[in-house]
C-alpha cells in the first residue's frame, strides 16, 4: 500500500474518527478537525504535477481480488490529477465555508462531516482508479454519500424526496455502467482502463461495442444530470448549501464528465458516441439555460445553470472526440473543443462554487432564497455583491473573466463542428453553433437575473426574516479565493496551460507521438474578423434586450403544460409503477389456496405436456405387460366407483366411509400383488386415518354445516382431468421405456446370505436401506410432537383469552 492509496482512502479513515472527535471535543466545531485533510491532500497532489505535466503517469497497484483481475490500481495522469485537485481544493474551501454556515448547536455535525468525508474519499477513488470495478465501487459510494447528504435534513419531506429521486436516477445509471464495464471486460479481458485504452482500436467492430457504449453513456449522463436525467439535480438543492456547492456544482456532477473524457480514446472512434455526447450535451445546454430563467429560487437557477454548463462541457467533449479521426492535422484544428472542455471544466468549478457560496450567504443572512423577496442588497452586502457579480459575469461569458475565454473557445469548437466531414456532420452540423448561441443568450439572461434581482432594485426589509448584514469573514474567504481564481485565470490564462495540456494528453493519447505534447495557447483577442467575437457581442446585445423586456415575454414559460414536464413524468411513472406492481400482484396473489393449486397444477400439466410433446416421448409398449385377472378388474372397479362417488356424495360422512373403502381395497390389491407387509400396514393405517377423519367430522362447527354437494367448476374439472391424463400418459410411457433390468436380483440373492433374514421387505427396511427408516421414524416422532404441541398450545392460548 503506497502513499497514494493512503491518500485516496484517508478521508474514509478520518470518517471513522469523526464521531469520536465530535463527542469528546464538542466545544470545537467538528469541521476544524476536517479542514487540514483536504488542504494537505491538495498539496500532496500538487507534488505530482511536475511529473504529469510531461504526459507521464504514475501507477500504484494494490492487489484486492487478484484471481478476478481486480486490483486497487491507483493511477495519476493529467486528467486524474485535475479532478483530484478540484476535489481536494474545493473540498477544503467548502469545509471552511461549512464551519461558518452550519451551526454547532443546532446541526448534527458528526453525521454531516462523516458523509462529506465519505463523499470526498469516494470521489478521489473514482478519478484516480485505473481499475473499472474499483472505479464502479467508488462511483456507487459517491451515489450513496450524495443520497445521505441531500437527505441531511431528513425531517423535511422535500429533502427525502430529492434524496430518493437522485438515488434512483444515479443508481440506475451506475448499474447500467456496471453492465458496460462487464461488456468491456468481455471484449478486452481486462478491467484496467489503461490497458483497455491500449486495445482501443481492436474492439471497434465487436458486437458488444455499441451496447457497452450506450451503457457507459447512461452512467455518465445520469451522474452528470444530462437531458432527460437532469431532473434530480434541481431537487437535490434541498441539501445544505455547502453540499450543493461541493457535490452539485464542482465534483459529483463532473464524475460523468470524467467518465466520458476518460473513455473518449476507447469509444470516440464511433460516430454514435460523438453524436450522442455532442447532441445530448448541446440539448442539455439549451434546455438547462432555457429553464433556468423561469425560476425564482436562487438555488433553482443555479441548479439549472449547472445542468446547462455540464451540457456545454459534454458537447465539447463530444465534438472534440472527432479529433481522434484526423490525427495530428493543422496543429489541432479539432482538438480545440477538448481544450475548451477542459478549460471550462476548471472555470465552471471556480465560478459555480463561488456562486453557490454567495447564494448560501444570502440565504443565511436574509432567511430566503426567493428573488421576488430579495433586492437592494448591494449596499448592505458589498463584498457578497462583488463576488456574485464576478461569478455571474464569468458564467455569462463576459470579458475579462475566465468564462469569456472558455465561451469563445466553445464557439470556435462548435463552428468547427460544421466542417467535419464525418458522420453526417456536414448536413446537421450547422445546428450546433446556432443552438450554442441561443443557449448562451439564455445563460447571459439568467446570470443577469441572478445578480441584479438579488442585489439591485428596491430593498424590501418587511419580506425578510432577518435583518441582512455582511457575512462573517470565514464564510467569505472561500468564495473570495474562488473568485480570485476566476479573475486570475481570466487575466492570465497561460498559467494553467500546462495543466490543460497534460489533461489533453490523457484524453487524446493516440494523437501524441512519442515525446510530444499538446500546445495550448489561450488568447483574449481573436481579431475583428473572427466570428466568435461577433457571436459574443450578439449574445450580450440579445441578452440585454431580453432582460429589459423580461415581463413581456416570460409568459411563454406558463404556456408549457405542466403535464408534459419531465418531473411530472417521473412522479407519475414512479406512482404508476408501484400501483401497477401492486395491482399485478393483487391480480394473481388473491390469498385463496384453491387458486394457487390451480396455478401449480396448470403449470405441471403445461411443463410435463410440453416436454412430452417436444421430446416426442410418448410410447406404448404392451410386450412387457402381465395378464389381467378378473379380481384385479373387480378391485379396480370398486376403487373407481368409490372415488367417483366421493366426488358426487352429498354428505361428508359418506365421503369418509368411501375413502376408507378405497384404502381397504388398496390393501386388498397389496394382498393379490403379494405384498403382505404392505397389506398389513395399509390395513392398520387406513383404520387409524379413517378414525381421525371421523374425529374431524365430529368436531365440525355447527355453523354452515349444511350438507351440500361440492360445487361444479369447469376449470377445476379440466385441470383435474389434465393432471390425471398427463400422469397416466407418463406412467404408460415410463413403463414402455424400461431400459435396464431391476437391481432386485441382488436383494433376492443376498437377503439370507449377507443379512441373515428371510423377509426381504423387512431386511431392506432395516438393513440394506435402514438409513431411510431411521429418518422415517424421525418424521413420525416430529408429527406426534407437532400434534401434541398444537393441541396443548391451543389450550393454553384459550385460557389466556378466557
Amino acid at each position: 500500500m503506497s502513499l497514494l492509496h493512503f491518500a485516496i482512502i484517508s478521508p474514509l479513515i478520518l470518517a471513522i474518527f469523526i464521531p469520536m472527535l465530535h463527542k469528546y471535543f464538542h466545544k470545537i466545531h467538528t469541521g476544524w478537525f476536517l479542514l487540514p485533510l483536504p488542504a494537505l491532500l491538495f498539496f500532496y497532489f500538487m507534488s505530482y504535477f511536475p511529473e504529469t505535466a510531461h504526459g507521464e503517469s504514475i501507477t500504484e497497484t494494490l492487489p484486492w481480488i487478484p484471481s478476478l483481475g481486480i486490483d486497487f490500481a491507483a493511477r495519476i495522469d493529467g486528467l486524474g490529477l485535475l479532478f483530484a485537485l478540484l476535489i481536494t481544493g474545493i473540498g477544503a474551501l467548502v469545509v471552511l465555508y461549512s464551519i461558518f454556515y452550519l451551526s454547532k448547536e443546532k446541526e448534527k455535525l458528526n453525521q454531516f462531516y462523516v458523509y462529506l468525508l465519505l463523499f470526498m474519499g469516494a470521489m478521489l477513488g473514482v478519478v484516480l482508479s485505473d481499475n473499472l470495478i474499483v472505479l464502479y465501487s467508488f462511483w456507487e459510494l459517491t451515489s450513496f454519500s450524495s443520497f445521505l447528504l441531500i437527505g441531511y435534513w431528513n425531517h423535511r419531506e422535500r429533502s427525502r424526496y430529492g434524496a430518493q429521486k437522485s438515488m434512483l436516477i444515479t443508481v440506475f445509471g451506475g448499474l447500467s455502467m456496471l453492465g458496460g464495464i462487464l461488456l468491456l471486460y468481455l471484449m478486452t479481458g481486462t478491467f484496467s482502463i489503461s490497458e483497455i485504452i491500449g486495445m482501443a482500436g481492436e474492439i471497434t467492430g465487436h458486437q458488444f461495442f455499441i451496447p457497452a457504449l450506450i451503457c457507459f453513456l447512461l452512467g455518465a449522463f445520469t451522474k452528470s444530470a444530462q437531458f432527460p436525467f437532469h431532473i434530480w439535480l434541481p431537487d437535490a438543492m434541498e441539501a445544505p448549501t455547502p453540499v450543493s456547492a461541493y457535490l452539485h456544482s464542482a465534483t459529483m456532477v463532473k464524475a460523468g464528465i470524467y467518465l466520458v473524457a476518460r473513455l473518449t480514446p476507447v469509444f470516440a472512434v464511433s460516430g454514435l458516441w460523438v453524436w450522442l455526447v455532442a447532441g445530448i450535451g448541446i440539448l442539455t445546454l439549451f434546455w438547462g439555460s432555457f429553464s433556468a430563467v423561469k425560476h425564482n429560487d436562487l438555488k433553482g437557477i443555479l441548479a439549472y445553470s449547472t445542468i446547462s454548463q455540464l451540457g456545454m462541457i459534454m458537447s465539447m467533449l463530444g465534438v472534440g472526440g472527432i479529433a481522434l479521426h484526423y490525427g495530428n492535422v493543422e496543429d489541432g484544428f479539432y482538438t480545440v473543443a477538448i481544450t475548451a472542455a477542459v478549460f471550462h471544466l476548471i472555470n465552471h468549478a471556480t465560478f459555480k462554487g463561488s456562486l453557490f457560496m454567495v447564494v448560501g450567504i444570502v440565504d443565511h443572512e436574509t432567511g430566503t432564497r426567493d428573488i421576488r423577496k430579495l433586492g437592494g442588497l448591494m449596499t448592505l452586502m458589498p463584498i457578497t455583491f462583488t463576488l456574485a457579480a464576478i461569478g455571474a459575469f464569468s458564467m455569462a461569458g463576459l470579458p475579462p473573466f475566465n468564462g469569456f475565454l472558455s465561451k469563445e473557445m466553445f464557439f470556435t469548437g462548435m463552428l468547427r463542428a460544421r466542417e467535419i466531414g464525418l458522420f453526417n456532420f456536414e448536413t446537421l452540423g450547422f445546428l450546433f453553433p446556432i443552438v450554442a448561441w441561443v443557449a448562451s443568450v439564455f445563460t447571459f439572461l439568467y446570470s443577469m437575473i441572478l445578480v441584479f434581482k438579488t442585489f439591485t432594485g428596491k430593498y424590501q426589509p418587511e419580506k425578510l426574516e432577518k435583518k441582512p448584514h455582511e457575512a462573517p469573514v470565514g464564510m467569505l474567504i472561500p468564495p473570495v479565493i474562488l473568485v480570485s481564481l476566476v479573475v486570475i485565470i481570466g487575466l492570465f490564462p497561460n498559467i494553467i496551460e500546462t495543466l490543460i495540456e497534460s489533461v489533453m494528453g490523457a484524453i487524446l493519447p493516440s494523437l501524441l507521438a512519442e515525446g510530444h505534447e499538446f500546445h495550448v495557447h489561450i488568447s483574449h483577442w481573436h481579431g475583428f474578423d473572427s466570428p466568435e467575437l461577433w457571436m459574443t457581442a450578439g449574445v450580450i446585445i440579445a441578452g440585454i434586450l431580453l432582460y429589459r423586456n423580461l415581463p413581456r415575454w416570460s409568459g411563454i414559460y406558463n404556456r408549457m403544460p405542466e403535464r408534459f414536464s419531465l418531473n411530472r413524468f417521473y412522479d407519475t411513472g414512479l406512482e404508476k409503477t408501484q400501483l401497477g406492481a401492486m395491482r399485478f400482484t393483487g391480480l394473481y396473489m388473491n390469498g385463496f389456496i384453491r387458486t394457487y393449486l390451480v396455478y401449480i397444477f396448470t403449470f405441471m400439466i403445461f411443463i410435463l405436456g410440453t416436454t412430452m410433446v417436444y421430446k416426442n416421448a410418448f410410447k406404448l409398449d404392451t410386450s412387457n405387460v402381465a395378464n389381467i385377472h378378473y379380481f384385479e378388474v373387480v378391485l379396480a372397479a370398486i376403487i373407481a366407483i368409490s372415488s367417483i362417488t366421493i366426488l358426487f356424495s352429498k354428505s361428508r360422512l359418506t365421503s369418509i366411509i368411501l375413502l376408507g373403502a378405497v384404502g381397504y381395497t388398496v390393501s386388498l390389491f397389496f394382498v393379490i400383488f403379494r405384498a403382505p407387509d404392505l397389506a398389513l400396514t395399509q390395513l392398520v393405517i387406513e383404520t387409524v386415518s379413517v378414525a381421525l377423519f371421523l374425529l374431524c367430522f365430529y368436531h365440525l362447527p355447527k355453523l354452515g354445516k349444511n350438507e351440500e354437494r361440492m360445487g361444479f367448476k369447469l376449470g377445476n374439472l379440466l385441470v383435474s382431468i389434465g393432471v390425471g391424463a398427463i400422469v397416466t400418459l407418463i406412467a404408460l410411457s415410463a413403463h414402455s421405456n424400461k431400459e435396464f433390468d431391476s437391481i432386485s436380483e441382488y436383494y433376492v440373492e443376498n437377503t439370507y446370505k449377507k443379512a441373515g433374514g428371510e423377509n426381504m421387505v423387512n431386511v431392506i427396511l432395516v438393513d440394506f436401506r435402514g438409513f431411510d427408516t431411521l429418518f422415517e421414524i424421525a418424521v413420525l416422532g416430529i408429527a406426534a410432537l407437532g400434534i401434541f404441541a398444537m393441541i396443548k398450545l391451543r389450550m393454553t392460548r384459550g385460557k389466556e383469552q378466557g
Binding site: 443379512a755 421387505v761 400434534i787 389450550m795
Partner: protein, 140 residues
C-alpha cells in the same frame, strides 16, 4: 350417563393378551415372515386403544404409567444408537452384524443387531400412535 361396559371389559381382558402376543410375534418374526417393527408397534398400540375404549384414559394411565413422548425419544435413541454402533467397530454407519447361537430351549437362533434397530422402530410407532390418540382424546 354411566353405561355398563361389562361385556366389553371382560372380553378386552382376554383379547388384550392375544393381541399383544400377536403383535410381539409379528415383531419378532419380522425378519423371516411378514411383520416387523412397524406393524408390531401399530398392533400393540391397537391393544392399548382397546383398553382405552373399554375403560378410560385415567385407568389406562394408572395401569400403564408411561410417557409416550419419552418412548418416542427412547425409540429414536435405539435406532440411531444401533446405527452408530457400527462406527465403533470401524465399519460404516448402519452396518448390522449377526450370528447364530444354540440356545438351550429355542435351538439354533440368530442374534441380529437389526432387531435392536427394529425395536427402535417399534417403540417410536407405539409412542407416536399413543401420543396422538391420547392428546386428541384429552383435548376438549
Amino acid at each position: 350417563m354411566k353405561t355398563n361396559d361389562l361385556i366389553l371389559q371382560t372380553v378386552s381382558k382376554v383379547i388384550l393378551f392375544l393381541i399383544v402376543l400377536f403383535s410381539l410375534y409379528m415383531f419378532f418374526a419380522g425378519h423371516y415372515h411378514p411383520g416387523g417393527g412397524f406393524v408390531g408397534g401399530l398392533m400393540t398400540s391397537g391393544a392399548i386403544v382397546l383398553m382405552l375404549l373399554a375403560y378410560d384414559i385415567k385407568t389406562v394411565t394408572t395401569i400403564l404409567p408411561v410417557d409416550y413422548k419419552k418412548m418416542i425419544a427412547v425409540g429414536l435413541l435405539f435406532a440411531a444408537g444401533t446405527a452408530a454402533g457400527g462406527l465403533l467397530f470401524g465399519v460404516p454407519f448402519l452396518t448390522h452384524a449377526f450370528t447364530y447361537v444354540d440356545l438351550p430351549l429355542l435351538g439354533k437362533t440368530s442374534l441380529h443387531t437389526a432387531v435392536l434397530f427394529d425395536t427402535g422402530v417399534y417403540l417410536v410407532v407405539i409412542g407416536v400412535t399413543m401420543t396422538i390418540i391420547q392428546t386428541i382424546g384429552e383435548s376438549e
